[in-house]
């Protein structure tokens, strides 16, 4: 690119750290003047002011608008991150979440002043339970991994109640599982035992049987699984694990493929978290916040954490303490009642789609993935055959490797083409995985454009590996050095740098 004096390139604005332009004395807020009355800090006032630079409002707005334009987003194009369900985020949801009647509610207001919020939670619960065919739901988990924690803690509580809390310590986890599954099991004090996958990407039932024993607490299974396949032996697996005295935790991250078409409750699932920020369209926000309500089977329902919503005649109330609650709650997942702001968005989305629309969501998400599989299968290697797949399609790097191109190189070349890459190197069961999840909110035209680009790139791989090795060329940045970042971690700006920058 032509060098410029400003460092900007046309509309692409160079933007330094705010600390490099901000000043300790500047502020972007006005406040009434303090009275200067005697304080009650008991001598524990701040010795010196924090070195927090400020910006006036015009400067601040400009800083963040400039930064924003360095991001890719769903609203800019296809975001085919497998396992992440990057679907359209309706703006109606955002507007509803900002109604004073929801956003300006304190979690500890007298319950008679928050009946609408409690109705909202009850209604959300009704939709989730009806869709999943489960018995109870804990709304409070703050994301998927937190929901996993909730489910595994419920299993632990059930085992303790059975007097097997100390004996059943082993949890079976397929090697294709998402990292949060083993991490969660470990966090709950379980030992993680891997079960292998078959060559066609399913759980190896024989291996599962081998791994059974009186010390097995349960299994953590993702279904549809992370290879984009529905575990066709799911009910047998459930029976086996139940037969062995264990519980069946299902990772619901891929629920989008089956919402309204299959009820996990009909498959023998004991606990499953639902990512409202995937299936139910609450925005990912660059890494959160999420919301991971966890549905429970009758066997685990009694152990659901507080708070519970309970009826008190006409009114609704919050049961916030285990002692007072029915059943035997295993405790509390977090302060207050979970991600209410996300409940509003998710319920708004559910009401918009309705039971018919949600069913269509699942079907279109699966249709879109299979369409991509059909368009791409001659150009990439689908390790588990020609499908059908569920809502995401998995390829490995064999067609790239032969030409010396790594999955990461291919991904970076996609950046130049204006696309966010698919999920790469996950799941671990295939080499250099490329996991594509288009979601139902992509049009056929978008899918065709995307497929054309992938095919063209696949062709180019054969003749021009160098192009991929050096990619990206057109993104806001060339390839970034992860190793350097990890070797000498620099995780914050330090005030003394200000002097440095000033000196320069």
């Amino acid at each position: 690119m032509t060098a410029t004096v400003s460092g900007n390139h046309g509309l692409q604005q160079a933007e330094g750290l705010l600390f490099e332009t901000a000043s300790i004395t500047r502020t972007g807020v006005d406040m009434p003047a303090p009275k200067g009355r005697p304080d009650r800090l008991g001598g524990l006032g701040r010795k010196y002011a924090p070195l927090l630079p400020g910006l006036s409002e015009p400067e601040a707005v400009r800083h963040y608008v400039r930064l924003s334009q360095k991001n890719y987003a769903i609203d800019l194009g296809l975001f085919p991150l497998g396992s992440c369900t990057m679907k359209h985020n309706p703006r109606l949801n955002e507007r509803m979440a900002r109604l004073d009647g929801f956003a300006d509610l304190h979690p500890l207001q007298p319950v008679q002043t928050v009946q609408g919020a409690l109705m909202l939670m009850e209604e959300l619960a009704r939709w989730l339970l009806t869709l999943t065919g489960m018995d109870a739901v804990a709304l409070s988990p703050k994301a998927g991994a937190h929901g996993e924690l909730c489910g595994m803690l419920a299993i632990r509580a059930a085992l303790i109640a059975r007097g097997e809390g100390e004996t059943r310590k082993r949890v079976l986890v397929p090697e294709s599982a998402h990292g949060t599954n083993p991490a969660t099991a470990a966090a709950c004090g379980f030992i993680v035992d891997e079960i292998h996958a078959t060559d066609d990407g399913h759980v190896d039932i024989e291996d599962l049987k081998k791994k059974l024993g009186p010390d097995v607490a349960g299994i953590m299974l993702t279904n549809p699984n992370t290879c984009g396949l529905f575990e066709r032996d799911i009910k047998e697996i459930a029976d086996i694990i139940h037969g062995a005295g264990g519980y069946f935790y299902c990772d619901g991250a891929n629920y989008n493929a089956i919402v309204g078409r299959v009820r996990p409750g009909d498959l023998g699932v004991d606990a499953m978290h639902i990512n409202l920020h995937k299936t139910f369209s609450t925005p990912h926000g660059g890494g959160g916040p999420g919301s991971g309500p966890t549905v429970l089977s009758p066997a685990l329902a009694p152990y659901a954490p507080v708070p519970h919503i309970v009826r008190r005649g006409e009114d609704l109330a919050l049961m916030e303490h285990s002692e007072a609650a029915e059943g035997s709650p295993f405790g509390r997942m977090c302060a207050f009642h979970g991600q209410t702001g996300m409940y509003v968005r998710a319920l708004t989305y559910m009401l918009s789609h309705g039971s018919d629309g949600l069913r269509q969501v699942a079907e279109d998400s699966v249709l879109n993935a299979n369409y991509l599989l059909a368009r791409l299968k001659d150009h990439f290697n689908a390790p588990f055959g020609a499908g059908p797949c569920m809502h995401e399609v998995l390829f490995d790097d064999s067609t790239l490797k032969t030409h010396g191109v790594e999955t990461i190189d291919f991904a970076k070349a996609m950046l130049d083409e204006g696309y966010h890459p698919m999920t790469t190197y996950f799941p671990l069961v295939v080499h250099g995985a490329l996991l594509i999840e288009p979601t139902e909110t992509e049009s056929k035209a978008e899918l065709d454009r995307f497929a054309d680009v992938l095919i063209a790139l696949a062709e180019r791989v054969k003749t021009d590996a160098a192009h991929f090795k050096s990619a990206p060329h057109l993104a806001p940045m060339r390839r970034l050095d992860d190793t350097r970042a990890a070797r000498q971690p620099k995780l914050r700006w330090k005030p003394d740098e200000a002097l440095k920058t000033a000196a320069e």
Binding site: T25, H284, G286, G287, L480, W493
Partner: protein, 447 residues
């Protein structure tokens, strides 16, 4: 349906390309009997207009804080957030993007996180901060587990000043992990009691300042005592804005500082989403949970930012990860950092001072009422009062007059008596009229 671009014509064409006769052919692996033939028994789709009507009806069954004279704190705080904050976080490029796994097209998110980490570290006077936890309470259980990894000990002592929801959250998660959690009896001004409860297996003592009763504590002696016993000192908080005015935990030597960031940039939202702030010392970094944004350079040597030290995290380390957290509080950190950028040291001090002055005025106004006693010796913007009647009864009477007067301590912790204790808070959003109305109403009620 407005969110679904495919037409029936598209669907037919695509099935043909796939070589399937019907959509059900794609669900072949689903046990037949489990494949629903009809939509589940829930309402059918509705227009935006109809959905909006329904949601507004639900919202209208609540009384928003702003429509009352409002004095609640106890873990969530009502502050004024500049309009530009909410405008900016709604930009498509921030709102509808994912965790920055492709840094070359995610510098907006990554640089904002790097700036967030810096501001958190500066506010708390700590060496490093991470890219956020879900909230303060879950951050605290991560801190407890981290302390046990660092010290290879398994006992954690919580002061009686720790917010009961936080204590319960820590107990729930940590006991399952095999830790022994000791929570001391509620105490308005005895954070250092944790030192008396320490033993040789104690990995950490956890104190909160300002604590749930609003009391501010000098942490230096507690840090010294903890370290003398080989334990880490974890300082917790629920009101980040306090550190605009009071000595930050880092300056007093805390090893891990963790708490709730909601009060900066984020609305009350009936309890969530919020944002957990987590900071520690560099030497403990590799045992710390959560994402970290770090500086590096690109192939042309240009400065850029990436997620780093992920070898601690679940997607790499799996069962050996320092935490199972994945999605965190991304957009809430953005709101936090934008608000903090608008405040700056100057604005932060100003707004913190207004909070404190309003709280002092409130304490003065309530304290003079016969039978009402202000229990908190030193505070920022919230304090506890003892009433001559049950707090919940008084609260209902206040509500009658449009005043939301506080949180009865028993709502948070029914196990300790203290039925007559009310937790009260004032922020910059309270007017003198609010405060006078409260005092007048309370006087009527308790006499």
């Amino acid at each position: 349906m407005r969110y679904l671009p495919l037409s029936d014509e598209d669907r037919a064409q695509m099935l043909a390309t796939i070589g399937a006769n019907s959509i059900d052919d794609l669900y072949v692996d689903v046990p037949r009997e489990a494949l629903l033939k009809a939509p589940v028994a829930l309402p059918a789709h509705q227009s935006e207009m109809e959905v909006e009507r329904l949601m507004k009806l639900l919202a209208s069954c609540n009384i928003p804080a702003g429509k009352t004279a409002f004095f609640l704190g106890a873990g969530a705080y009502r502050h004024h957030v500049p309009a530009s904050v909410d405008h900016l976080i709604q930009r498509s490029e921030f709102l509808t993007t994912y965790t920055p796994y492709q840094p070359e097209i995610a510098q907006g998110t990554l640089q904002a996180l790097y700036e967030f980490q810096t501001q958190v570290a500066l506010l708390l006077d700590m060496e490093v901060a991470n890219a956020s936890m879900y909230d303060g309470s879950t951050g605290l259980h991560e801190a407890a587990m981290m302390a046990s990894r660092v010290t290879k000990r398994s006992r954690v002592v919580l002061s009686g000043g720790v917010h009961p929801h936080y204590a319960e959250t820590v107990r729930t998660a940590c006991e399952a992990h095999g830790l022994e959690i000791v929570t001391l009896p509620a105490a308005i001004d005895d954070e250092s009691a944790v030192l008396r409860a320490m033993d040789a297996n104690t990995a950490a003592v956890i104190v909160q300042s300002p604590n749930v009763f609003g009391t501010i504590t000098d942490l230096k002696p507690i840090v010294a005592g903890a370290h003398a016993g080989g334990a880490l000192m974890i300082s917790s908080f629920t009101e980040a804005m306090a550190f605009g005015l009071i000595e930050p935990p880092g300056a007093m030597g805390a090893d891990i500082v963790v708490g709730e960031g909601q009060s900066i940039g984020n609305a009350l939202n009936f309890g969530g989403p919020y944002v957990g702030l987590f900071a520690t010392k560099e030497k403990y970094l590799r045992q710390s949970p959560g994402r970290l944004a770090g500086e590096t350079v690109d192939a042309d040597g240009k400065r850029g930012f990436v997620l780093t030290l992920s070898t601690r995290e679940q997607h790499i380390r799996r069962e050996k990860a320092t935490s199972n957290i994945c999605t965190n509080s991304g957009l809430c950190t953005l709101a936090w950092t934008i608000h903090m950028t608008l405040l700056g040291a100057e604005g932060l001090k100003r707004v913190a001072t207004l909070n404190h002055e309003n709280a002092c005025d409130l304490a003065d106004a309530l304290g003079v009422i016969a039978g009402v006693e202000v229990l908190t010796p030193r505070f920022f913007n919230e304090f506890a009062i003892r009433l001559p009647k049950r707090a919940d009864v008084v609260l209902d009477a206040l509500m009658e007059k449009g005043i939301v007067g506080g949180v009865p301590f028993t709502r948070l912790n029914p196990r300790e008596g203290l039925e007559d204790v009310l937790l009260v808070c004032a922020t910059e959003t309270n007017t003198p009229e609010d405060i006078n109305a409260y005092a007048a109403a309370l006087k009527d009620i308790v006499q």
